[in-house]
């Protein structure tokens, strides 16, 4: 990428003047109006008290108000569990269709399905899971009628932590498949042959060669899944009607009506979320750069 950039620069316009920058002005104007201004407004407002003067109180309260701390905790738990669970299932699936010895034709079927499922979210997804695992759901009935397992008596509840995690998994693991399949393709056949020639077993090859190469990519993808779940709102809202206390739902309630009785605190909550998302994206791109050393 950097090379092409250098070449173009050398060939074409050597002195870039302000006229050339005018070409991207509409894009920057759009980004300022609809991305930066809204974010900056939330940022400044989170440092402002009700009289309009500077305060750090809202930020401090983020860490002391139990209501908010719990919301962050729950959001982080759901995101971490689904990133980890979805990551593992997605990796195994990607493994199965790339180097796992399954027929080639299954691969494109799985990739298409993953594309669909990772985009199938929000209200329809929530309704689909109510029809599956709700009190009158299809699977709930099957388990009760044929295996004599009553999910809801056993403490399961679709509208709580476990249920929400299962629902999020539906768009999490396909995303993992989409990210990991190309990465697994990047494993060179020569590495395996070299390892076998040196007398390594299959386990040794995976532990000592493949995993170290894949690990940054797996971790990076899991971080991406984490952010994917952390920012999700519509699915959780449609599923629970706003009765589960994750951060996005609480922020939604704060937008609808000042439930925290302190607008500044609502802004601070939003900024806290942006900070966590920014950290995960930074982690992802850092790991992505590490991945590119070996794969592709």
């Amino acid at each position: 990428m950097a090379q092409t950039a250098m070449k173009l620069k050398g060939n074409g316009s050597s002195a870039t003047n302000w006229r050339t920058w005018l070409g991207v002005a509409p894009f920057f104007l759009f980004a300022i109006l609809f991305l930066f201004l809204p974010s900056v407004r939330l940022f400044t407002a989170s440092f402002t008290d009700s009289n309009g003067s500077f305060t750090l109180n809202n930020i401090v309260q983020l860490f002391s108000e139990p209501f908010i701390v719990n919301a962050y905790k729950l959001s982080i738990q759901v995101s971490a569990v689904t990133a980890f669970g979805g990551g593992i299932l997605g990796f195994l699936l990607a493994y199965a269709v790339t180097v796992g010895g399954l027929p080639k034709s299954l691969r494109s079927v799985l990739i298409t399905f993953s594309g669909v499922a990772s985009n199938f979210a929000g209200v329809p997804l929530a309704f689909a899971f109510v029809a599956t695992l709700g009190r009158q759901g299809f699977v709930t009935h099957i388990l009760r009628d044929y295996l004599n397992i009553n999910l809801y008596d056993a403490g399961f509840n679709l509208y709580s932590f476990a249920g929400l995690s299962l629902v999020y998994m539906y768009f999490q693991f396909p995303l993992m498949v989409l990210i990991m399949a190309p990465a697994l393709d990047g494993l060179k056949r020569e590495w395996r042959e070299a390892a076998e020639n040196l007398g390594a077993s299959s386990t040794q090859y995976w532990l000592r060669v493949a995993m170290p190469v894949l690990l940054p990519s797996i971790l990076g993808a899991m971080i991406l899944l984490f952010g994917n779940a952390f920012g999700a709102y519509a699915t959780a809202y449609a599923l629970t009607g706003g009765r589960i206390g994750i951060v996005t739902i609480q922020i939604g309630a704060q937008i609808r009506g000042d439930v925290l009785y302190n607008p500044g605190l609502g802004y601070a909550m939003a900024i806290g979320m942006v900070v966590i998302m920014a950290i995960s994206l930074a982690g992802y791109s850092w790991l992505q750069a590490k991945t590119e050393r070996w794969l592709r």
Binding site: F27, L42, G101, A128, T132
Partner: protein, 287 residues
Amino acid sequence: MASSEDRKVAEMSFWARLRKFPFWSWLWLFIGALYFVLPLFATFEFSLSWDPEDPLKAYQRAFEDDKFWETFIFSNVLAVATIIASVILVVPTAYWIRLRLPEARRVVEFITLMPFVVPAIILVFGLIRIYSTPFYVPFTDIRFMQPLTNFKIGTNILIVAGYMVLAMPYMYRSVDTGMRTVDIRTLTEAAQSLGANWYVIITRIILPNIRSALLSGALLTFAIVVGEVTLASFLGVDAFGPYLFLLGQHRAYEPAALSFVSFLLTWLAMGLIQMFTGGQGQAAGAH
């Protein structure tokens, strides 16, 4: 050739063949397939169970509702508007960066990743806070414009802009990848030497050459916008997403039918992307 091959396979003992059989791979695939299919099957089955005499009753009722068509068509209009506006914004930008302004690449790519950091709920929060107050000409008391959220066209502009932000990472990446595969510099020089102006170059030369990339970006945008709930419900726009949500509050069978239909629509969009890009699966993010 084939016969000797066959004999070899036949000679393989049962156990050796069993060892060759990728049992674990099939197991993971089975679990994955179950996860994929069960919710869809359950939804479909439920949507048919309203009236045993007339299995399609839920679909019939859902499609009879005028409000469904109103909101669904409006969501499609919003999607088309978002796609057109995004193309107008993104294509010249990506083109210009490749042709003349490579030093802007990093900052523009950074901006296109911003929507991953600012989820829809935060974006709509900020948009409401900014655009629910009137605009004043700077340093004066002269009111320049009333709040965008106060009138219908203003809200529609706001929601399309918001959707453009949500779709930007996918649109920009599609377009930029598309441009990498065609030599836009040579194409531009050839067009210029034949006397074409910038408008002609972009609409007649560049756009047709990146059409499959554009199509994949457009379909992904479509998948994000139709059915989107967060922006639409907070901005008070009568789109399909909020309609389906409200329907789910007091009906049982119609929402299941419509959920299944929207799954089919998502599948259609993704299938078309597969067809046009040749197997490069992509994921959007309006969860």
